[in-house]
């Protein structure tokens, strides 16, 4: 909205140290990057912003040699380079801190650094070398501590020391503060600042707008694989960056159709999910996932949770689904509950089992074909065959192994199974992740008709579009706090709320 590429102010005289020009990358049917440009200058912290799936990680993986671009150039100090592997990237002075920890838990800090930097493993020498390095970087670490025993903040510190061990001049940080408490995040950003002041350059991938505004010099915003803004941070606001991230609301090309249930809602809704002062710990056991919260979802409602990964929505959904039992406060959920977990092949089904067995797995002892612990497989198979037909699942039959199905059909099978128990409450995590538009809208239609039939639907999608398209009511979970979004709220407002602003 009124954003154009602004001139870069004083920094424009600094030559670019690293450039990615016209990068295209396609994964199967998904165009992850569509002609993206990125310019990193000496001495700057450059934020890379975008929604999930906008192409941020892919772009940095190309820069680090983990992924090859289809077209486009990589230039260092003006010279075109081919970076074919992380090893080459390190040799060129590029270090990367990944979203997830990459240290070997059983090895010591010093050994992990040696492993990453390619040092010879000579025990005493290693210890001194590690100590010197970490002190020079201002990131003290105990060389003899096992990596697995470090706190989350220290693990993150180790990742950075590893990335800088090979005398990197360019540091790529993929959501480094996502796992950190605010104070630790500030500490980390100070370290990155010290690195750039000493002549290094850093790219900071993040979801957190306040971090961009306070820590970065320049920012590049990606949307659907293309750059929507590149320039200085000065003069930008949470609103302008959000707009660049998610696009103008009017002409947004949405892959989801918004169909709100036409029928007027029943005036006296039955309350099917009721939370009172519910408090949840993180799944990892480290910290609080959901702060004392209240929420009521009634019959026929579809409530979408908008949230950035790791803000407590996962724990909230799993508690409602009855998959997390350790909680404080009150949680009442009408039974039966259908649950569509995020990870199809590790949580939703067992690929080695056939389709009938996977249906039987989910329905358990509630299924009509089980009686006093006995299973009548013939009945289960017949019912599965019905489900395949009813939900339009392409498979050779109920005896096909789940592994033989495409992702979309696997997801349909899970949805079919869960809806076949006539649930009062449906809980779904990213119900259409990785599916094409047709498969996704089929699943949306199923969820809508289940709600129309009286079920309460509570779901999260990391795609804000999907939340807005499917939900009649949106709530935001940010840093463990649940807040209701007013029906008039704009996309930008929701975006800001998701990032922890006040909306």
């Amino acid at each position: 909205m009124g954003l154009s590429r602004s001139s870069d102010g004083t920094l424009s005289r600094v030559p670019p140290v690293f450039e990615l020009i016209g990068i295209q990358k396609r994964f199967g049917s998904v165009q992850a990057l569509d002609g993206a440009d990125f310019t990193l200058r000496t001495g700057e912290i450059h934020a890379l912003l975008g929604e999930n799936g906008a192409g941020k990680s892919t772009l940095m993986h190309i820069a680090y040699g983990l992924v090859r671009s289809d077209t486009g150039d990589v230039r260092m100090n003006g010279v075109v380079r081919r970076i074919a592997s992380p090893r080459q990237a390190r040799e060129l002075g590029i270090g990367m801190v990944h979203q997830h920890f990459t240290s070997v838990p059983a090895l010591t800090v010093a050994e992990n650094i040696a492993l990453a930097a390619g040092w010879a493993v000579v025990p005493n020498q290693l210890r001194d070398r590690t100590r010197r390095l970490s002190e020079r970087l201002g990131l003290p670490l105990d060389p003899d501590q096992r990596a697995g025993r470090l706190s989350v903040a220290l693990k993150q510190r180790l990742e950075i020391v590893k990335a800088l061990a090979g005398d990197a001049r360019i540091l790529l940080l993929d959501e480094p503060t996502a796992v950190l408490a605010p104070a630790e995040a500030e500490e980390l950003l100070r370290v990155v600042r010290a690195f750039t002041e000493a002549g290094g350059s850093a790219v900071l991938i993040t979801h957190k707008l306040d971090e961009v505004l306070s820590a970065a010099d320049r920012v590049t915003v990606l949307r659907e694989g293309a750059v929507t803004y590149a320039g200085t941070v000065a003069g930008q606001t949470v609103e302008s960056l959000t707009a660049a991230m998610i696009g103008p609301e009017s002409n947004r090309s949405s892959s989801f159709t918004t169909v709100h249930a036409g029928a007027p809602r029943a005036t006296a809704k039955r309350e099917l999910i009721r939370l009172q002062a519910l408090e949840l710990s993180r799944e990892s056991g480290y910290g609080i996932a959901i702060r004392p919260a209240a929420l009521i979802v009634g019959s026929g409602e579809i409530v979408g949770i908008a949230a950035v990964e790791g803000n407590g929505q996962r724990e909230l959904l799993r508690a409602v689904a009855g998959r997390i039992v350790r909680l404080r406060g009150r949680l009442e959920v009408a039974q039966p509950v259908a649950f569509i977990p995020e990870d199809r092949t590790s949580e939703g089904l067992i690929p080695e089992l056939d389709l009938t067995e996977n249906v039987a797995l989910g329905l358990g002892l509630d299924a009509p074909w089980t009686r006093r612990g006995w299973i009548r497989w013939g009945e289960a198979r017949a019912r599965t065959a019905d489900l395949l037909q009813e939900f339009g699942i392409t498979a050779s039959g109920p005896r096909a192994r789940a592994a033989s199905l495409s992702g979309g059909n696997q997801q349909k099978l899970i949805v079919a199974r869960e809806l076949s128990r006539s649930p009062a409450v449906i809980v779904a995590e990213n119900p259409t992740r990785g599916l094409d538009v047709v498969a996704a809208s089929a699943i949306h239609a199923r969820l809508r008709s289940a709600a129309a039939a009286g079920a309460a639907v509570l779901f999260h999608s990391s795609d804000l579009d999907e939340v807005l398209a499917l939900a009649e009511r949106v709530i935001v979970v940010a840093r463990g706090v649940i807040s209701e979004v007013s029906p008039q709220a704009s996309r930008a407002t929701i975006g800001a709320m998701m990032l922890g602003g006040d909306g």
Binding site: L222, R323, P341
Partner: protein
């Protein structure tokens, strides 16, 4: 389809094993043909040979193998059945020597129950270590084998030593504690027990929720928990306990049906051979019965081969080893040491999301 190819693998394994044995014998200067002939006739040559040596030796293999099938289906790698077998044998002997006055059925049943219970107790420590500290059962069950073997030695030199205090073995158990023999052979009722348990497990595995739950936990513990709301740890622990009970029972059956006394080296490695039996059978109960008889035949034939052809009986272990290797190949998970290749194949577009 899958079952057919498994059968093909099993047959190929046996043929290959016998071929390697024949080649090895020739290379070492033995005459392979009479040796293999002796192997065959020792195992299947007569009704007596078949029942009194082959089937007698197959009983512990089938019983333990069924237990291993339970454990492995549930993803619990019980490698120490040999130890549980000895625990069962000790308990069976102890109880048998104290129930002489009881009528036969009561005596035999209490002997076998004590043996099964001892097997359960012998895996209790590995189960606890696994649940409490995550100690892998492969190590803990295996190490307890040595403890069990030493305990047998301790028993037969101490509390259970025979009255004369000369030999390292127990007194013979009273007649009332012995399993009845079948029709003039040395085959005892333990064989029928093994068949009955095999049939029962077949039903449990194929028709019951528990049997299905066991397989689900073995193949996908996360999905079993999240989608099936199954307590994976509990199922895994139950699988270990049951496999311990089966191995303990095998020890009791061996004492009550074959040896009638406790002594060291009671088992020629039944607990380990049974792992191969279960794997070769694809963890299927009917398969375990068949492969159990096959391995029983090999061990029975080995004795005849030594007697009649002058070939050391241990040569037969070559056959067993080849079969085990082929069985492992047939059931091996795809991928290298780290499993990274498998993961890459499963998630071709893992780096798609930004």
């Amino acid at each position: 389809m899958a079952r057919l190819s498994r059968l093909a693998w099993a047959v190929a394994a046996v043929v290959l094993g016998l071929g390697v044995l024949a080649g090895g014998l020739e290379a070492m200067g033995y005459d392979a043909a009479p040796a293999l002939g002796a192997l065959w006739s020792g195992a299947f040559g007569s009704w007596y040979a078949f029942t009194s040596t082959t089937l007698v030796r197959s009983v512990p293999l089938i019983l333990i193998g069924l237990g291993i099938a339970i454990a492995f289906r549930g993803g619990a790698l019980n490698i120490g059945a040999e130890g549980q077998f000895y625990a069962g044998a000790i308990a069976a002997t102890w109880v048998a020597l104290h129930v002489a006055e009881r009528p036969a059925p009561v005596a035999v049943i209490s002997v076998l129950l004590a043996a099964a219970l001892a097997g359960v107790l012998w895996v209790a420590l590995p189960v606890w270590l696994k649940l409490r500290f995550g100690v892998i059962e492969v190590i803990s069950t295996l190490l307890l084998v040595f403890v069990a073997e030493l305990l047998v030695s301790l028993m037969v030199l101490g509390p259970l030593q025979e009255r004369g205090h000369i030999y390292p073995q127990s007194d013979a158990i009273p007649d009332s504690a012995r399993l009845p023999l079948i029709g003039g052979t040395r085959l005892h009722a333990g064989f029928l027990l093994a068949l009955a348990l095999g049939a029962t497990l077949w039903f449990v595995f194929s028709r019951t929720w528990w049997g299905f739950k066991l397989r689900a936990v073995g193949l996908g513990p996360r999905a079993a928990e999240v989608s099936g709301r199954i307590d994976s740890q509990r199922v895994g622990a139950a699988a270990l306990f049951l496999s311990g009970a089966m191995a303990g029972l095998a020890g009791g059956v061996e004492v009550s049906g074959v040896s009638y006394a406790l002594y060291p080296n009671l088992s020629p490695g039944y607990g380990f051979t049974a792992i191969a039996v279960a794997l070769l059978a694809g963890l299927h109960p009917a398969g375990v019965v068949i492969t159990g008889i096959l391995f029983g035949a090999l061990e029975a034939g080995a004795g005849a081969m030594q007697r009649d052809a002058g070939v050391p009986a241990i040569a037969v272990y070559v056959v067993e080893a080849v079969i085990i290797i082929v069985a492992l190949l047939a059931t091996a998970p795809k991928g290298g040491w780290s499993g990274a290749r498998v993961m890459r194949r499963k998630r071709p577009v893992a780096s798609k999301a930004a």
